[in-house]
Every structure is written in C-alpha cells, then in structure tokens.
C-alpha cells in the first residue's frame, strides 16, 4: 500500500501530550511515523491545520433497527465522519432493544458496511425493563464494548448492585444514567426560577446527585466498572469528585450540549433545546467546563439523538428530548476553546484517549503503530450552523443559526479518507 503523508500539520496527541508541528506518515492503515520525519508518498498539505486522533463518541442513538427514518447506522456514520468522529458507540434503545447476541451480531454486520468504526453497547436489562439482567457475558464475547440501559436509568438499587457485581466478572463497562426516576418523573426541565416562570415541570440536580452517590457506593461494594452517563449539574460534578477521591473505578461523561448551552437557550419554549438531562443554569455549565479542564469528567459525548421534526414541533412538555450532535460536537467544543473556556488538550482527551482506554480500543491516539484514525481541523474557521445542511437524517439541533469557530476539514479512518470538506460547503 502506498504511503500518505500529512505535511506541516500541528499534531495534537492527548495521550502523550505531544503538541508540535510535523509530518504524519501513514501506511497500511496505520501511523508509520510522526513528528520530525520525512514525507513519503502522496502528501496532504496540513499547514494551518490541526491533526488530532479521530474522535470517539461513546453515546450515539440511531433508529436502526426499527426507526431508520430517524437515522440509520449508515447515515449516522456519514454524519460522524463529517464531524471528525471515527469511532462511535451506538446505544441499545432501538426497536427491538439490543439485548441479545443475535442483535449484537446484526449491528456489528451493519457496522462493517460503514467507513468508520461502529461499536455497539448492549442493553443492561432485557427490553430495558430495569429488572432482568441480559446475557452480559455472551454479548461481551460477541463484541459489545459496554452496557447501557439507554435513556432509562436502572432505578432499583438491588438490580444495579447485581448488574455491577455480575459484570465485574467480565470486566464489562456499565453505563447508568444518573437520574432518580421518582424525583424526575414527568419533568422536562431544570427546576429553577426560569422553568417555574415558564410553567415547565422541573427536577432538581439532587435527582442526579442521589443516583451518582448510590452508584458510586455500589461500584465500591461490588468492584464493578461504572460509567456515570451524562452529568448535567454542579451538584452532580461535586458528587463525582467525592467518589473519585476514593479508590473506585468510575468514569463520568457529559454531553457537548451541556458544555455549550444553558437553560436560557430554551428561551421561548424552543423544543430543539429540550434535552435529557435538561439544560441547567449557567453556573452548572461553567462547573462542567471546569470538570473537563481539571479531569474530573472523563468523556465528552455528542448524545446524538435524531428526532424528526414531527416529534419536536409540539408543545414543550409533549415534545421529544434530544438533539443531533455528531457533526457539531467538535465545532461546538472548539468554539468554547476559542472563547477561552475549554482547555483544548483536556477537551480532546475526553473525545480520544480517555474513551479509548475505557473501551479498550487501539485507536484514540496519534502514535507509531496506532490506527490512522485522524481528524484534521481548522481551529479558527468561522462559520454559521445551518441545520438543513446536516448529513444526519434528522436535523434537530439547538445550534441552528449559531456562529461557530473551528471546523473539520478532513477525516481519515484506518488511513482511508472518509470525509473531506470542499471549500464551497
């Protein structure tokens, strides 16, 4: 296979901390050499651009199987490539729920037809009922990289204990949403002055903290590997900090939306900003940013959740939650970097080396011998988001018409060009 070199590019590798201008030589789908090395074969001019490991998005919901009109794995993969995401983990909350080895195989087959790396999260409980354990061992052997109960938290503490305990045998990563179902029942917003004025039922951050405290205690009791799946509040972050001060194997994620937006973005009942967990106050957003910068938060996800307009153009309380995010993840983050809020290297670590180590994947780093999964982006390119131009089948984004700084120029996966932005688009 011929060599390919990205020349004179700023190389950013969060795993090693490497940050310098140099060349990246690629052969046979792998990084052959990087840094101060001679170019070989075809070249790509990387001047003015940044090369980082292809992003790993640990939380992507598609509609396949069951609701392919929302998003198929294929369309999600195209959107991912356009967003610099070379590895994505698809969630099990589909129809049917991915709670069985044969369904894991189905998704894996679909994944092989895409140009990027698609992994699958198996369901933690059968049909996501929150009660009946799934075949975690067999699904792990079939290739499930983690286990999740989808959008629904496992609310029963005894079941959660057994899940963490049983999965420890397989060293499986268990993701649970930190929401107290009873406290948050029928709510659609953050409980605050703002939502009260809007007349929207909200739930307090305590609903998040209670479950973080509970799950951390259960992880400590059982030795299970826990991922706290999307925190949204300062109170939640403090609970994670407390848990991490003890010797427990827990990790925590946050959605890009919660690093960029706050409850005011709901504005005049804008359902495109209706998310789960809900957007909270500006102090919460700032706390989450600091959580990424100081390493308390391990993972940033897009929380990609495609919803057709028909599910969004409804009264706020009735509208579906969620936003697409694969294509906007990096730009939304780079905008916060440009604002001087997010630390670039820490932010990228949450999208590359940290998820790779949690999922035990060979990618997520720029190093000799690593897969040539690379995103090239322009840190400073200004642009305006136009939701109609998104590649996702659904266009629901709260960032529509927003000004952004920084954009993906090219994406390589396994040394293959999977996305290139033409100058006109």
């Amino acid at each position: 296979m011929t060599n390919l070199t990205i020349e004179d590019v700023r190389i950013l590798d969060p795993q090693s901390g490497f940050d310098d201008i140099g060349n990246i030589v690629i052969a046979n789908g792998q990084i052959k050499a990087l840094g101060d090395v001679a170019a070989k074969g075809e070249t790509i001019d990387g001047r003015g651009l940044v090369a980082a490991p292809g992003l790993i998005d640990m939380r992507v919901t598609t509609g396949e199987p069951g609701a392919e009109s929302r998003e198929s794995i294929e369309s999600a993969a195209l959107a991912a490539a356009a967003g610099g995401v070379t590895t994505m983990v698809v969630m099990p909350d589909t129809k049917p729920v991915i709670d069985d080895v044969s369904l894991i195989n189905y998704i894996t087959n679909k994944a092989e037809q895409t140009l990027i790396n698609v992994h699958v999260a198996g369901a933690l409980t059968q049909s996501l009922d929150g009660k009946t354990m799934t075949e975690i061992g067999l699904m792990s052997e079939a290739g499930a990289v983690m286990f999740s109960n989808g959008a629904e938290p496992v609310s029963d503490s005894l079941i959660m204990r057994r899940l963490l305990s049983y999965s420890a045998r397989f060293n499986a990563l268990i993701a649970n949403r930190p929401i107290d179902s009873a406290l948050a029942a029928n709510s659609c917003a953050h409980e605050s002055d703002f939502s009260s004025r809007l007349g929207l039922p909200g739930h307090p951050p305590a609903a998040e903290r209670i479950v973080i405290d509970r799950d951390a205690a259960l992880a400590e009791l059982t030795g299970g590997r826990l991922l706290i799946d999307m925190i949204s509040s300062e109170e939640g972050l403090s609970a994670v900090r407390r848990a991490k001060s003890r010797d427990i194997e827990i990790a925590c994620s946050v959605s890009m939306n919660h690093l960029a937006l706050n409850e005011i973005d709901i504005g005049d009942y804008r359902t495109f900003a209706k998310l789960d967990p809900p957007l909270r106050e500006e102090t919460d957003r700032q706390a989450l940013i600091s959580g990424v910068n100081d390493g308390t938060i391990d993972v940033v996800v897009s929380a990609h959740n495609p919803r057709p307009a028909g599910q969004k153009r409804l009264p706020y309380t009735e509208a579906a939650s969620g936003a697409v995010g694969l294509e906007l993840l990096l730009s939304a983050g780079l905008t916060q970097v440009a604002n001087g809020e997010l630390d670039l290297m820490k932010f990228l670590a949450c999208l590359t080396s940290n998820p790779a180590s949690l999922l035990d994947l060979p990618t997520g780093r720029l190093a000799e011998g690593a897969p040539a999964d690379i995103v090239l982006f322009d840190m400073n390119m200004p642009w305006v988001c136009d939701s109609d131009k998104l590649l996702s089948k659904s266009k629901n984004t709260p960032f529509d018409e927003r000004r952004m700084t920084g954009r993906v120029v090219m994406t390589l996966c396994g040394g293959r060009l999977v996305f290139e932005r033409l100058s006109s688009s």
């Binding site: 009946t132 075949e135 975690i136 061992g137 067999l138 049983y166 045998r169």
Partner: protein, 318 residues
C-alpha cells in the same frame, strides 16, 4: 459409646458441622465406613435402633434425603414415620414450636428435620426431648450431606484427604451444602476453592478459608475434585444470572471445562442435577469421572453411622 483418639462421641444432635470436633468427625466417618459394607448394612439383626422411633419431618420437598434416612433408619431396626409438612399444618397456621410440642408429646427418639428457615432445626432441638438431625435448613447447613461427601472422597482417595484440592462450583450463595462442605473439608485439611459468578458468591466468602474464583479456567487449575451445585431455575432468569444459556457457557461443567482440572479429576454433585445447566450429561454419567452415584450409596451408610453415633451418645453406651 463410639470414640476416636480416646474422645467419646457425646453429641446429642446433628445440627451443624461446626458443633463437631475433629475426633467426632472421625468417629462419624469411621461408623459410616463400617456401614458401607452391604453385609453389615443389610444384616438381619437390626438391633441398634430396635424399638426406637425416627420421624422424618420435612417442611420442604425432598426425595433422596428423606428416603436415605428412611432406609438408614429401617436397616438399623427403627420404626420410621415420614411426615411431610409441606402442605399440612403449616398452612393451617401452626407455628414451628406448636408442631414441635405436638410431636414431642409422641416421644420420637430421633427427629430428622428439613426446613426452609436457617436455624429452624436448632430451635426445634431446644424444645424436643429426642435427637434432632438437620437435613437441610434454609441456606445454613446440610451437615449429613457434607459427611457423606467426605465419606465418598475417602472411598476414592483414601483415608487422608489432606492437601486434596477441591473446587465447589456454582450457586454457593444459596447453598447449604456448600456451607457444610467448606467447614468439614477445611477440618479434613483440603484446599478449597469456590467458583461462581460474583452474584452467586456469598459476601466475604474469602474469609471462610477458601480461595474465590469467578472463572472456571483459572479456578479449576490443579483441582482433584469438582463439586457442582444445583442452580435453582428461578435464579437464572435475569435476577442472579441472565440465562441458562449464559450460565452453562461460563459455568456449566462439560468435558472442555473439566479439562482445566487435574488429569483424572473426579466430579461430584449433591443432586438433583439440572442437566445442561450446571453439568452436561456426558460428564455426569461417565463412571470414570463421576462420583455422583457413589455419593448416593455413601448417603445411606453415612446416615446409618450418624444415627448409630447419636443413639449411642444418648443412651450413654460405653
């Protein structure tokens, strides 16, 4: 009175392995071994328990334990009465102690009790005048099963079981057999390992003088004996274990998993077996590796030995 090392056997009941000293255990196993001889076992004299009454009081269903005690009692000349209480007075609201008082008024000499609540036979033992034998209480103990297991092991491996590496596999959390076996085999100097999914291993089991493993391959390494335990059907549909299929895949004993143990390792199971769940039929039925039938044979002899020892102790026979 029977004795070992000069220590007379003075136990009035058989409630738990922990009540027995090492000499007591030797006395019981020696008597059990004595009755293994079918000429002795079936001897027409039947004098030992002649004129005595043995009541099998089973609050839970059982076939083999109840019949084993019945045969053992009859072969020693006792009058045996089986009382299955599963669906009778208990349902009418009678408490355990009411039942005990009623029975006591009939003056049985030996009460063999199985009950779903841990500690129930011990409670009965305080209230009746005869000897109480625990035939399984809740998830506490099943001491006669452990003794017959030890007797089976001695038949195969010889008198000294010291250093024998024994893996007890499966649902240890809910197993009274495992709890009795662990104590008894520890006293006899065996090297015990527990293997099972984390959800079926009791809390802090590593403090029981055993090594805990969660996968068969490493756990079975170098084992001379593999003891499989029964997994109740209701426990493998998502509560403790996801499914029968997954359980058998990771913990069911088949030829390939048996290959992880020492060459020539023997297989035991207290019964009744779930074929295809915790053990495959070809392993269970292979006389070259299975001691399962031998366990049942030992059961009658061992229980005769226990009845003999308790009866002697109560009568104060020198």
């Amino acid at each position: 009175m029977a004795s070992s090392y000069g220590y007379p056997f003075e136990q009035q009941h058989c409630l738990s392995i922990s009540q027995f000293s090492r000499p007591d255990i030797e006395t019981l196993l020696t008597l059990g071994n004595h009755y293994l001889d079918l000429d002795v076992q079936k001897s027409k004299e039947r004098s030992m328990l002649a004129g005595k009454t043995l009541v099998n009081l089973f609050f839970e269903n059982s076939t083999r334990t109840e019949k084993s005690f019945e045969i053992a009692g009859r072969r020693l000349g006792a009058d045996v009465i089986n009382m299955s209480v599963v669906g009778s007075s208990v349902k009418k609201g009678e408490t355990l102690l009411d039942t005990a008082a009623t029975l006591n008024a009939m003056n049985p000499d030996i009460l063999v009790v199985r009950h779903g609540a841990s500690g129930a036979p011990a409670l009965l033992a305080q209230k009746v005048s005869g000897s109480v034998i625990n035939a399984g209480d809740g998830v506490h103990e099943h001491p006669t099963q452990a003794l017959l297991d030890a007797l089976t092991l001695r038949r195969h491996f010889g008198e000294d079981l010291g250093g024998l590496r024994i893996a007890i596999c499966g649902d240890i959390k809910h197993s009274r057999v495992a709890r009795s076996d662990i104590q008894l085999l520890n006293v006899l100097g065996c090297d015990i390992r527990l293997i099972g999914p984390p959800t079926l291993i009791p809390a802090d089991a590593d403090k029981w003088g055993v090594d805990v493993f969660h996968d068969m391959e490493t756990g079975l390494e170098g084992c001379d004996v593999v003891m499989m335990l029964r997994l109740q059907m209701e426990r493998m549909s998502g509560a403790f274990v996801p499914s029968k299929r997954e359980y058998f895949h990771f913990y069911g004993l088949d030829r390939s998993k048996l290959g992880f143990a020492k060459q020539g390792a023997m297989v035991m199971h207290p019964g009744p077996m779930n074929r295809g769940v915790e053990i495959s039929s070809d392993v269970a039925d292979d006389p070259k590796v299975s001691l399962i039938t031998s366990q049942v044979e030992s059961g009658v002899a061992m229980r005769m030995g226990i009845l003999h020892a308790l009866s002697d102790a109560r009568d104060g026979v020198a």
